[in-house]
Subunit: 261 residues, 2 copies
Amino acid sequence: MNLAVTPAARNAYPGPAVHARPLVLDISNRRTTCSACGLRDLCLSDGLDAEALIHVDELVASRTRLHKGDTLFRAGDRFTSLYAIRSGSCKTISLTVDGHSQVAGYHMSGEIIGVEGIGSDHYGCQAVALEDTEVCVMPFERLEAFGRKHLRFQHNVHRLLSLEIGRQHRVMLLLGTMLAERRLAVFLLDLADRYRDRGYSSCEYVLRMTREEIGSYLGLKLETVSRLFSKFQRDGLVQVQGRTIKLLDRISLRRLVENSD
Amino acid sequence: MNLAVTPAARNAYPGPAVHARPLVLDISNRRTTCSACGLRDLCLSDGLDAEALIHVDELVASRTRLHKGDTLFRAGDRFTSLYAIRSGSCKTISLTVDGHSQVAGYHMSGEIIGVEGIGSDHYGCQAVALEDTEVCVMPFERLEAFGRKHLRFQHNVHRLLSLEIGRQHRVMLLLGTMLAERRLAVFLLDLADRYRDRGYSSCEYVLRMTREEIGSYLGLKLETVSRLFSKFQRDGLVQVQGRTIKLLDRISLRRLVENSD
DNA sequence: CGACTAGTTGAGGCCAGTCAATGTTGGTGG
DNA sequence: CCACCAACATTGACTGGCCTCAACTAGTCG
């Protein structure tokens, strides 16, 4: 069970293997073009030939810096572009008819947001930076035009959208069938995998969300999340220090996820 | 709140209006080509020019008849094609790691299934016919090739995938934030809208799912679904006769969905 | 320092799950 | 046509997981 696009899934279509990336991203040296972007094999340019790669940079109309709490787009805004997260992270929020909201997703560097806007010409949710974040603005018309010229790129767009559908299937499973303990265990292991994929420690990481945001994403109340963190700590599964999470016993966490009862 | 691709969303991109379809589908007279298909404006060929429409039929490699209970594809099967439902209906099922399952979606004529397979080259769920059903088999490579030639078709593919993402956002909201009564009210109104879109009565329709399947989709147990049907009937909201549902008081049903508490 | 936000913990209540008994429906074969 | 069976559905009694409400602590920032 995994709530993000898994490396396995990403590599199903032939292309550079994920483990080929450097273990730690050297942020200071990151250049400002897509073709040189250390995140690119998480992105749409995965597997492109040299000729196509030359033109990939032109897909990015601009880059935007967001401060923590800034909104990138809102539900109902006219859809124009997809956004690739270069650094930092965002949450996306769905709104209910009665004005309440739910965290629909938690997105890290290399991930692309805004895809639910394509179909209706308006974004379907709000994207908010959880920390200082930099995004690449990719006008969707350019992506479509590029896809018509480059078969592999076209497939990458389809894959991107399809993998998002798969991710949401897993969230629906989580919300529809799992008890609270299991939901949180899935969440923690999922984050660990995604930090690992990005070259960070998968044993210790810092949450960028509040307890309330985690709860909203998992269909739980903040008190329940807090209680579960305490329980997991008592049981020696994790060490929790505010937002710093250290996974102590992955085996048992995984058992929590996989054992039915 | 709507769990399917809404007419409004479908029409956001300029194209033939949904209400232009005949009120009742004449099944006996349906011809066997896409360009003549009464369902086509629900489909990928929406808004294509005459020149493109000529070649749309070639996207369908074959048609398959399924009997009630037949499986169209299973989770893990190699992905090759999308399937458009010509007549009948299907459910899709996600599997948990521990072998349990959840109904991930309920799909009617004109809808396209299998999209979650594009990204990973394997279908992510199982599709099962809920009644005798006919589907069009559309090899995805053909769709991609056609999209490279026809801008509008390419956009329709993107829209299809994106609208599915939007639908799943709404299901996540339902599972994550709503109480049981509200979930069922959303479900009943959603079905009514979709039957209306297809030219059937939106006040009275026959469920194709068991109570257990409804419950699975809504994150509830079958007993809870049954109790709620009885309660809705006591309160005069619907008339329930086995699987035949008659909506008696849409206003109150809608209020159930929209009022927060 | 006080005001504020985020997080923890406890007591009690309620919604939906579990278990179990019974009723209903539709298809099959005598 | 009816008897029979299996699958589906209804209803009740009880249980329990999570929510609600509330009090308290820790850390942050003007």
